[in-house]
Subunit: 326 residues, 2 copies
């Protein structure tokens, strides 16, 4: 349950009001924030407290993460000249605190609990770089793809290398699963996704395949993209609540595990409704070839921790027939 | 092409900088803004210059439409007590300017050019009322559905009656096609859409069926909902660019015409890319049982009017084999 910490009082207490990028660069704090949801909820995996823009920030690219808004880029990328601003990311030198946080977290995790490392997929990172921040229409990034595919692919290639380097460093530091967030891929038509997003996404998974850890590819609104995403090289594909998991399995084919997909907003409803929806997710997901129960997107900050505790209990009690991935 | 006017200099000149709800309540101005895209582009239909929140505003519900943001509600709806604030909408008394604008526009439209009247679907309108404005997670409205279905359905019923009254008045004033915008329906899971959004949507189409005009139901991100939306009572279902139209037809079945679905962002690309994508839309749509060529969402304000002119020419030249709807 990504961002599960946000609704916890111990998170707000430890995290304080500082900038998120500052919190991430403090390994002791980042490790503590990584561990809190595991202690509170007894989930089967922790996700490293970090952000998809950390590698960009670490190479000195001028961006901030604005609370309630997201990543904001001072000078957006628009041409080949801007590519020079994206120098290669060397995790051990540029962001040693990420690996350190992972090491500290792994040391404290209960046996059998996975640590998930993650990175932003090239399209989603590029959308922030080209749009200058969060977007509704993604007009600039789509226009760049179609008007200058050479620059687009060069940009995507650099971001793929950055994501692969970041994931590899997290695995070396102890992450046992990796997840690539292509959060906004669902704004692309299937043809555009295949042409402009898939190639660089494949590069990421190819680069990390020798590491031998299970990999998850996640996006929201990706119903029409699932058959294509199945070719990206991840063993697991995460989907949001829009696509029932039985339908997602049909589109993904028999070789992929699924992750998801309870609507985070349902967790604000009375428990009977949450339980009914969670059981529907388990029923539709089935067990083969693997299901990672999760919300379909990040935990909403106003979620009652008691509901999430009960949800974890329900899934542990009723979903145990599932085959763990990895 | 909805909101096609926004990118026109004559629109900006006539429209000025006043509030949109003021422009809508000036029938001469609203008629002029309705006609401009027809004059400029030679499209086959005009869409009335109006807004989905006009009925709410007209009954005295306290809301504004903020430029660049959307409808903002001063006191959101959260309980059954709030339903009393939604009194029935009587178009002829509460918003006579809408019908007057339609009459003036129809008078000036070239023969054979349709006037599209429209309204907001109950779920989409309710999302503004409950969230208080545009939303990313739609958490409050989903929580209301699940926690208090009785209040939810009572709210949706009132909004259905409001939409039906609004559409009927527009038809009486000369609209020859109606469109119901359920713009945010795509944030719902298929099960939630069927349980919470479909019933009131059906009520709207049932109420206006005796008027005998073709009806379009539109939303974005609705790929997983199409089979359910096909049961709402509209003859035409509009889809955004995420679902190829051949796939949309498979989900809708043989009884529905389709509307769509060029990505508006593609119109910012060089003409060759626009033409290739438009031809792909025409090819996938086929001709039976009807295709209304359109963008998959509103025109982006930064769109070059020259590109839209060329697009209309291309569709007229190459899409004429299609069977017009209505």
């Amino acid at each position: 349950m990504r961002q599960a910490g946000r609704s916890l009082p111990e998170y707000r207490s430890a995290r304080g009001t500082g900038a998120i990028l500052d919190a991430i660069s403090d390994p002791e704090l980042a490790a503590e924030l990584t561990l809190q949801p595991v202690r509170r909820y007894g989930v089967d995996a922790a996700i490293l407290f970090s952000d998809i823009v950390v590698p960009l920030h670490a190479i000195g690219f001028d961006l901030t993460v604005e609370p309630g808004r997201g990543p904001v880029v001072a000078e957006p990328v628009s041409s080949s000249a801007d590519l020079a601003r994206l120098r290669p990311f060397v995790p051990e030198e540029d962001a040693p605190y990420v690996g350190r946080a992972a090491e500290l977290a792994v040391r404290e995790l209960p046996p059998g609990v996975a640590l998930i490392g993650f990175a932003g997929a090239p399209f989603t990172i590029a959308s922030y770089l080209v749009e200058g921040g969060p977007s509704r229409a993604f007009a600039r990034v789509k226009a760049l793809m179609h008007s200058d595919p050479v620059v687009w692919h060069a940009l995507a290639d650099r971001l793929a290398a950055m994501a692969a380097a970041s994931l590899a460093a997290q695995v070396h530091a102890g992450a046992t699963v990796v997840q690539l967030f292509d959060s906004w891929a669902g704004v692309l038509s299937p043809a555009d996704y295949e042409r402009f997003a898939l190639p660089a996404t494949r590069q990421v998974f190819e680069a990390i395949r020798p590491l031998g850890v299970p990999a998850v590819l996640f996006g929201v609104g990706t119903g029409e993209l699932l058959a294509t995403m199945a070719r990206a090289g991840a063993q697991v594909v995460g989907v949001d609540w829009r696509v029932p998991l039985d339908e997602a399995r049909r589109r993904l084919g028999p070789d992929h595990a699924v992750q998801g997909n309870l609507d985070p907003a349902v967790c604000l409803a009375p428990w009977e409704a949450v339980a009914a929806e969670a059981r529907d997710v388990l029923r539709r997901a089935g067990t083969s070839p693997g299901h990672i129960f999760n919300l379909g997107h990040g935990v909403l900050p106003q979620t009652d921790p008691g509901v999430l505790s009960a949800l974890v209990e329900l899934v542990h009690a009723e979903g145990r027939a599932g085959v763990p991935v990895g």
